[in-house]
Amino acid sequence: MSLVSVNDLGVRLGGRAVFSGVSFEIGTGEVVGLIGPNGAGKTTLMRAVLGLLPFEGSSSLAALPAAERAQLAAWMPQAREIAWPVSVESVVMLGRVPHLGTLQRPGVEDRARVAAALERMELADMRDRPATQLSGGEQARVLIARALAQDTPLLIADEPIAGLDPAHQISTMQSFAALADAGKSVLVSMHDLGLAVRHCTRLILLGEGRVIADGSPGEVLTPERLARVFGISAWYQVTEEGPVYQPLEVLR
């Protein structure tokens, strides 16, 4: 079953085509890494898929009414905004907004989802602290927990692990893998190709105004593409510890 289906998608910003002709589907149980150099249009692609900006072509999510879409897909923007000093738990509870009726208050199930998301992101100890007083990496984890609490079949996250310490980078990617094991899917943009190779089931490489490659990490990250798109060389080997990928040199 496909959770989102994107067909011939294109976005123009200020008269310039950011990308065009982008088509892909995301089924259940996938962790899809969206990779590409700065300015390739990763954020723009994710926002267009959600229908948050004008685009050409079609996206099955963007076609839905906003309230229905919020039941299917959660979105974690790259800008880590927490405007007021509300408690960590309150921020995570915002993930339940799409599931509540107009005057309905959070119930037992909502609290359980929030508690699970806090646990998952190792935030249970700081649930009562004002979220604005946390460090940048902790805030990122709060916002990931918020997106998890929305409990949607699809999670779309824009560079969620940037700025996290190594342990939390890995555990966040493992959380995404756990979601995939439970039949959900994640579309995540990232720059750390080593983590992408180890934890994503599939990579979409965006660059030169189009999708350059879409497939398993091994298929996508060929030395020629790395040289052409990112301008780097890398060492890649499937070891006993799983696939290991280490960027080495800048080529240009």
């Binding site: 906003a66 229905e68 959660a74 923007p77 905004e81 927490i82 007021w84 408690s87 915002l94 907004v97």
Partner: protein
């Protein structure tokens, strides 16, 4: 909820005190009895036609300023936002000033408030046209600043060219804001618009909560940003336009009250709405009692007092914020 009860009690007590404050010395029991008794007894007239509209308007305008201030701060995610930001109070004042200058205000009793409402309507239509249907909060602020400064400049022009010093001084005094000598007609003029505005603004709670995470995230959570913005602008225009039309410009309440109450509601923008409505009502009631008690024979203006009290209060909040940030 621990906050709701004290605020409600404060509003109720201050409302009673406001009813009992005035140059005519009337006892507690006598004045309350007169309020409900009816008849042509002079005490009943003082209570029903002078003190009751004054206290009612204080509650209505205070609640309006607190509510719209909290909504504006929540929407813009900025503690310095205030209801006047979208230019409604400025354009309502321009309408009123034109009514005084042209003599419309002197021709019939409701000339001034109706002209102020027309000014507010013109201002809000201009702001919405400038901000555009798909704009962000930034375009709304810029549109509001443009309309505010235009209205301010035109008001200054009217004063500048005013050949009549009496009209000029009347304009200046009117712009300071006051609840003195208002009648039940003013209450009935402002109330319907304010009720519409309150209903629109009270419905923003969930959207403002979601906006903690930014416009993009709120939109992805199913919040219709265009609708939220429209409700905010129309709601604020209704309450602030109606308030300015009957009482002139009363500053600082919409800025300071949400700021003071924010820590008491866990900084939730949604809960801050009703808390600020009650807090605003209490503050304007208190200020309006104070102008009558401090200088009973000098007609101290309400807007002057709220600004005098509000500015140091605001400074205190800034100093507290600075300490927290270090």
């Amino acid at each position: 909820m621990r906050l709701a009860l004290p605020l409600l009690v404060a509003v109720a007590v201050l409302f009673l005190v406001s009813l009992l404050t005035g140059p005519a010395e009337i006892g507690l029991g006598r004045s309350l009895a007169a309020l409900f008794a009816g008849g042509e007894d002079p005490v009943a007239l003082v209570m029903r036609d002078i003190r009751l509209p004054r206290a009612l308007l204080a509650v209505m305008i205070g609640a309006s300023l607190g509510l719209s201030g909290a909504a504006m701060q929540g929407y813009l995610r900025n503690p310095l936002a205030e209801p006047g930001l979208i230019g409604v109070s400025g354009s309502a004042a321009l309408g009123a000033v034109l009514a005084i200058q042209t003599g419309l205000a002197a021709t019939f009793a409701l000339g001034l408030p109706l002209a102020a409402l027309a000014g507010a309507l013109g201002g809000v239509l201009l702001v919405m046209a400038l901000a555009g249907p798909r704009g962000t909060s930034l375009t709304l602020i810029l549109g509001g600043i443009a309309v505010s400064s235009l209205a301010g400049a035109l008001t200054a022009l009217v004063l500048n060219l005013s050949p009549n010093p009496f009209a000029a001084s009347e304009i200046v005094f009117w712009m300071m804001g006051s609840l003195a000598d208002r009648s039940m007609t003013h209450v009935w003029l402002a109330l319907p618009l304010m009720v519409v505005g309150w209903a629109l603004l009270a419905g923003l709670g969930r959207g403002l909560d979601a906006l903690i995470l930014g416009e993009d995230a709120a939109q992805a959570m199913g919040i219709d940003m265009a609708r939220l913005r429209l409700m905010l602008v129309v709601g604020t225009a209704c309450v602030v336009g109606a308030g300015t039309a009957v009482a002139g410009a009363i500053g600082f309440v919409g800025l300071v009250v949400p700021h003071m109450l924010r820590p008491l509601v866990g900084a939730h923008p949604g809960r801050l709405l009703w808390a600020s409505a009650l807090g605003g009502a209490a503050m304007v009631l208190l200020a309006d009692i104070a102008v009558r008690v401090i200088l009973p024979d000098r007609d101290l203006k309400l807007g002057v007092l709220t600004a005098l009290v509000g500015a140091p209060l605001f400074l205190h909040l800034i100093l507290r914020l600075r300490r927290e940030r270090i």
